[in-house]
């Protein structure tokens, strides 16, 4: 019968469907991504290793893999706000005499008011940025073990890949230095750690110091020789420079000063292939060429030992130098915008008069020091309200134009200025400071200070100048601190310098609105360290909160 045949077939079909399928389906649970490759598919060539290394370097510049509008690598904070350089700069500058900010973003006024707590979202963002950088460097180093390199790459490429690995170690060491400087101790993870959710151990400031010191020492030979690497990548000079910075602060970090070591490392940098910019351009002084959109080219590229790279169309972020240019410009002043090469302005950061006075009150510098460039039109010198952008002078140090005056192509108002993370004159002043503290040659130290000052005055750096030069007697630690403010203002060094010179929390040196009062005030000494964020104290029971924040 037809009906029986149909019934039989239907029963068969149903039975097959029900029974046959169940067995083979569990394989389907192993779905794999189509566009996001697994590690084995990523690390297939030297170029591929380099593209991951780009991410490691880019960790200081970029906020995500998707450009400025692509979200954030670090979650819980706006991408642009959580940019590494933006918050590092804020922690180092907004807390000091060099800068105030007008905005009301959560936590941003805490910087200058020196009243942050462990729940400050910007501190949390900065801390997580540093550990994000450490984690991705660990991942790269893990995937660059000798065994993996040997099995994945042709023998001819292995040496270069090992150099990449050394650079990853350098970047990791720098992030640990930021942890040491900002937070003291912290979680400790290396390439030996496993990617998971388990809490890493806590290392003290001293432990992290020793780790970074040993890493950087090793890297002074493992990295490329001075100036032998591509632009943007670090070499042995960078390792010496970071060691100099570590040692000059050793007294703060460990209780035992190491100024002689700082001088030794600084001397290695000064005798390297890097040199000061000495030629001015039609739109800029020699000094100012370090902070223009084409500072990726010589002569600026000869002075900047480690730049963090930006490009208005290809390396975009709302942090980095875009923040430094746009954030310090008035949105209602087309003239100001034109001067810095943008058509926008976010109306955020200005200087307190304490910075201005460094150039125009002390010594004989009255108007000729070309390093102090302030926007005065429409701005007041005094600040009665930090949240009013028109109070306080504008700082036009970073300008998104080329040294010949041409502007950057790209309509989106991003910056092409590369940020100097480590610059020769910084290291020269470290040497001079060591000398001023009696740990190095005063003759050499004085020479370096005066070279820097002659350039600032637009003079030949090797010709003595009565206007620019200081005497040996004038080369005090206080003078060096002020000279660092003039030379390195807005370069994310100021908080560290003030702490080292005992002027950050103390009432002996006040600036407008220090500690949140108009005339300034001293604050508790524990504020020389930031608190570990409560979010990580919660997530990691091994951590030890810094004194004063419990």
């Amino acid at each position: 019968m037809k009906n029986n045949l149909s019934r039989g077939l239907i029963t068969l079909a149903l039975g097959t469907a029900l029974a046959g399928l169940a067995t083979s389906c569990n394989k389907d649970l192993d779905t794999t991504p189509k566009y996001d490759p697994t590690p084995d598919k990523v690390y297939v060539s030297l170029a591929a290793y380099k593209s991951v290394m780009g991410k490691l370097y880019g960790g200081f510049a970029l906020t995500s893999l998707g450009g400025a509008d692509g979200g954030s690598d670090v979650l819980g904070i706006d991408g642009g706000t959580g940019n590494y350089l933006r918050q590092l700069w804020s922690a180092q500058e907004l807390t000091t005499d060099e800068a105030v900010i007008a905005w009301n973003d959560p936590g941003v006024q805490d910087w200058h008011n020196l009243n942050w707590d462990a729940n400050n979202p910007l501190l949390r963002g900065l801390y997580n940025r540093a550990y994000y950088e450490i984690s991705i460097c660990n991942e790269f180093i893990r995937e660059s073990s000798d065994d993996k390199l040997a099995s994945r790459l042709p023998a001819a490429d292995v040496a270069e890949a090992k150099r990449y690995r050394a650079e990853a170690r350098f970047l990791r060491a720098v992030s640990y230095m930021h942890v040491i400087d900002l937070f003291g101790g912290g979680p400790f993870v290396t390439e030996a750690s496993v990617v998971g959710v388990d809490a890493p151990p806590y290392n003290t400031r001293q432990q992290l110091f020793s780790y970074v010191e040993n890493e950087l020492k090793a890297l002074t030979t493992e990295l490329a020789p001075s100036k032998a690497n591509e632009y943007g990548r670090v070499d042995q000079t960078a390792a010496h420079g970071m060691l100099a910075r570590l040692y000059v602060n050793a007294g703060v970090y460990t209780g035992t000063p190491q100024y002689a070591n700082a001088a030794t490392e600084a001397a290695a940098v000064i005798s390297s292939s890097y040199s000061l910019v000495t030629a001015s351009s039609p739109v800029s002084s020699a000094y100012g060429r370090n902070f223009l959109a084409d500072n990726n080219l010589n002569p600026a590229a000869n002075e900047i030992i480690w730049p963090v790279l930006f490009d208005a169309t290809r390396t975009t972020t709302y942090g980095g130098t875009t923040f430094l240019v746009n954030g310090a410009t008035n949105g209602a002043s087309p003239g100001w915008q034109r001067y810095v090469g943008q058509t926008t302005g976010w109306g955020g950061m200005r200087a307190t008069r304490a910075l201005f006075d460094k150039f125009f009150l002390l010594g004989a510098d009255t108007t000729v020091d070309r390093r102090g460039r302030f926007w005065k039109v429409g701005q007041t010198l005094e600040i009665s309200d930090q949240t009013q952008f028109t109070q306080g002078l504008g700082v036009t140090k970073y300008r998104n134009i080329n040294s010949d005056g041409s502007t950057i192509v790209g309509s989106r108002n991003f910056s092409s200025v590369d940020f100097p993370m480590l610059r020769l004159s910084d290291v020269m002043l470290i040497y001079a400071e060591a000398a001023a503290r009696g740990a190095a040659s005063r003759v050499d130290g004085l020479k370096y200070v005066n070279q820097i000052r002659r350039r600032a005055f637009g003079l030949d750096i090797n010709t003595a100048s009565s206007a620019a030069d200081i005497s040996d007697a004038q080369m005090t630690t206080d003078f060096i601190l002020d000279e660092r403010a003039r030379e390195l203002h807005w370069e994310a060094q100021r908080r560290t310098d003030l702490i080292r010179h005992g002027k950050f929390t103390e009432a002996t040196y006040l600036w407008p609105w220090k500690g949140g009062v108009i005339g300034g005030r001293g604050v508790d000494a524990y504020r020389t360290l930031f608190p570990l964020p409560t979010s990580d104290i919660t997530a990691n029971p091994n951590l030890v909160q810094n004194t004063g924040y419990n």
């Binding site: 037809k2 009906n3 149909s6 019934r7 239907i10 079909a13 469907a17 029900l18 389906c25 389907d28 649970l29 192993d30 779905t31 991504p33 566009y35 996001d36 697994t38 990523v42 593209s51 780009g54 991410k55 880019g58 970029l62 893999l65 998707g66 450009g67 692509g70 979650l75 904070i77 706006d78 905005w103 009243n115 979202p121 994000y132 984690s135 979680p187 400790f188 990617v195 998971g196 959710v197 890493p200 632009y231 943007g232 990726n296 490009d311 169309t313 290809r314 390396t315 949105g331 209602a332 087309p334 915008q337 976010w346 192509v409 409560t534 979010s535 990580d536 104290i537 997530a539 419990n550």
Partner: protein, 1009 residues
Amino acid sequence: MKHPYLAKLLFLLMFVSFGTVTGAWAQTTGSVSGRITDEKNEGVPGATVIIDGTTSGGSSNMDGTYSIQNVPAGPQTLVISYVGYNTVRRPVTVVAGANTEVSAGLTENATALSEAVVIGYGTQRKQDITGAVAQVDSKQFVQGQVTNPDQLIQGKIAGVSITTGGGAPGAPSTIRIRGNTSLNANNDPLYVIDGVPVDKGGINGASNPLSLINPADIETFTVLKDASATAIYGNRASGGVILITTKKGLQGEKLRVELNSQTGFSTAARRYESLSAGEFRQLMEANAAPSQLATLGTADTNWQNEIFRTGATYDNTVSLIGSIAKKVPFRVSYGNLYQEGIVITNKLKRNSGSISLSPTLFDEHLRIDVNAKGSVIDNRFVDYGQIATAAFFDPTQSVRSTEAQYARYGGYFQYLGAPDANGIRTPLGNAPGNPVAAINNTNDISTVKRLIGNVQLDYKVHGVEGLRANLNLGLDIARGRGSKDIAPGDFGNYNKDFPNDPGLNGAYNDYAQDKDMKLLEGYLAYGKQLGAAKVDVQGGYAYQNFKDQGPNFLTYRSDRTTLLNPSAVLTVPGFYNEYVLVSYFGRATLNVSDKYLMTATVRNDRTSRFRSGYNSGWFPALGLAWRIKGEDFLKNNNTISELKLRAGYGRTGQQDIGLAYDTQPRYAYGTSESQYLFGNAATGFITGPLGYNAVLSWENTNTLNAGLDLGFLDNRLTATIDVYERKATDLLQEVNVPAGSNLVNRLNANAGSLRNRGIELGLNYGVLRSADLNWDVNLNGAYNVNEITDLGQQDANFPGFLNGDIGGGTGNQIQIRSVGFPVDAFYVFQQVYGPDGRPVQGTYVDRNNNGSTTDDFYRYKQPAPLVTLGFSSNLTYKKLVFAFTLRSNLGNYVYNGNASDRANYALAQSSTLFLNNVAPDVRNTGFTRQQLFSDYFVQNASFLRCQNISLGYNVGKVMGASNLRITANVQNAFLITKYDGVEPEISSGIDRNFYPVARTYTLGIALGI
């Protein structure tokens, strides 16, 4: 593995059609005819009359008459049935070659207890149900301009909160059954449409997955609320389950045509508060600097008038219902909707079609259900931000200007800066763009297609009494395509490098997304009567595969060939997510003497989202009921017509968080805008590792429910009361992972727990019953308390996870998730008020008495309502029908983001080159700057809303064999609330850039032929 079931399906369908045409009757036959009447002796149209034991039958006409031809001679039984009436059986002796007349009167089935209720993988008699289940059928739906299916049951079911996402056509609703159960995972209910569990998510170009269904096709909504009912859907049932069945043809039915047509118009029911030009000018003259006053214009523009309009809506559905050869019942429908938004340019067009076939073969042994629903939606969207811009744009400026400097900007007024080197006045930095221009300049359109189809075979196995096999094959395919084209003259997309070339200004980008869901389910069910006990068991298997993919696109200028960012390159061609759910499920029910009832279910689910060893979840449930009415002492009680006690426990699961591969190690490629240019090279693309949690596993929700079903006076009054506790453990939430431990600082992990406790009441009462006058009311209410009971590892100083973005700066969030508080409680400062009752700017209560108020955030109120109430009334007098639905939420608070941002003088004067309008509340506060975190702006948003008023008239026969009904409706007729912002009913609790809800007036006709 591929399931080649489409081939099998075709194979089966061939047999089905083969079987359909084979049968032929050779006997001598006669005919039967008659009239079916109701209690008022009026004809009942559409009643089904079937010769028992055969497939022969028909349905009654408009006047209630029917006729069945070719009835085999001899003694037969007529079975006469109609929804809502008691089925009648009439013996008849059919004489060959002659007509026998049989008429019958139907009585209304007031008890409706034998009514079948759709449950997971089957149906049950209402009286046998042990869980918390509510069903609403088409007779009880909200009437009028209903363009999204979820609106049909708004306010109708206790504990089901449906919050419209604003007045834009197709805006997604937020549906919460008994509150939020999850933190970061999906809180939406699972929709099962004609047996197909569909994708919960929207698709690019249509955010509401339900908006692709024509509401006119829907017959019933069944809401499974407690876990004893939902656990059979284990894996995605934590947010409850909504079963939707569509209308079907009836066996033996005569061909009918139904035509529904509605025409409506909509206006904005509430607007943003802002000052008129005169008021604004006056206020600024008293408060602004001379340079700012100089920017004032001379016009008197109400910007909201300029962007709002009266939107027209046309909604037509035609359907054919009948039975092919009297053996293959079918329904075919076509719907056409055109809906204009209340904001200029905003519109939606939907063409939808549905087909259902439900033949029964082999002496009713094989039932086949074939359903297909397809729709094509064309949208034009507007940027909601422009609605808020209209509220604060300077009212003294005109919309358009003939001045030459504005010609480049399409003749719209804009704030312009100094002339550049080309002599062009460029857009002024930081100034708002003219909102009318922004809306008109943006052509943001999409076309979305969706097809949901399934074939379900239900076979009563020959030779084994009580054994049934069911196979369900389904598909849900959606295609979204869209583009956003911004005109060259647009203010916000000015190209400073080429200002004079229109092709090199503006912006254009495409997007596309394809979603494919494949379903295979099969189960075997066996039922047997063992003495007084009826036992049913079933066991089955389900496989579901979800794919979500599409290409990536770059953004171009208006010429569509020049890149917006000249160095942009597509580094990743597209996106792709595929995940698979494999499940086994079983159910056993026991019914002893219709008094003692038990339902036990279990489901095992595995998901490809989680890694092996963590991907399996077990979801058991048990429901018990004691039907006291069945006991001897109540059996003959005339007052109490129903009394049932229910209790249940069950566990459901949740895995819907993040993307498909979040638990695997993987890398991602950077875009062309995140390169790193070593050596000053032209390119330097980067690759970075992504964070992952390999130990992520199921979130579990345990529900306890107890309920009481009551009926009085032949169930003229029925009541249902439920109390419940739902506790979600191993919450899927984004937590801070220890710094350095992973490749990201926050990851989705299993941590913490969350509890909802509540009580629900539903009442139905036939207040009046008479020949001419009938009045039915429905009252429902629910009280739900939500609390986070654990967030995982805790430090005493950790306040919780912030949530809820607000404007007024970068990174401001106003809500928090803290242990001991409801989800997303507002996290604010406690405002101090002066003796005049006005808030004192910047002065807050020092709650911890430490001398400073910067750390005195506290948790205040919650966005979710504590109490939701619904009241429906339906009054019929002869041919007139008057109905309305009221809804009320109590205890819900909303952060008035519009006022907190704009009700201060600082925003008005944020620039010396332009002024912004302010919210009038500034007169009450006098704030000179934003007070974003003041609890002053967290306002009680309790409300009473008249969802709908409708008046209908049954004209009856017009022009021969047709039935005409005319209705007039008002949607969102009135709203009573103390809340000042644009809308008190906002699921997020943050009133910001909200598209106002419309008030809609509709005229409708329904014609049956």
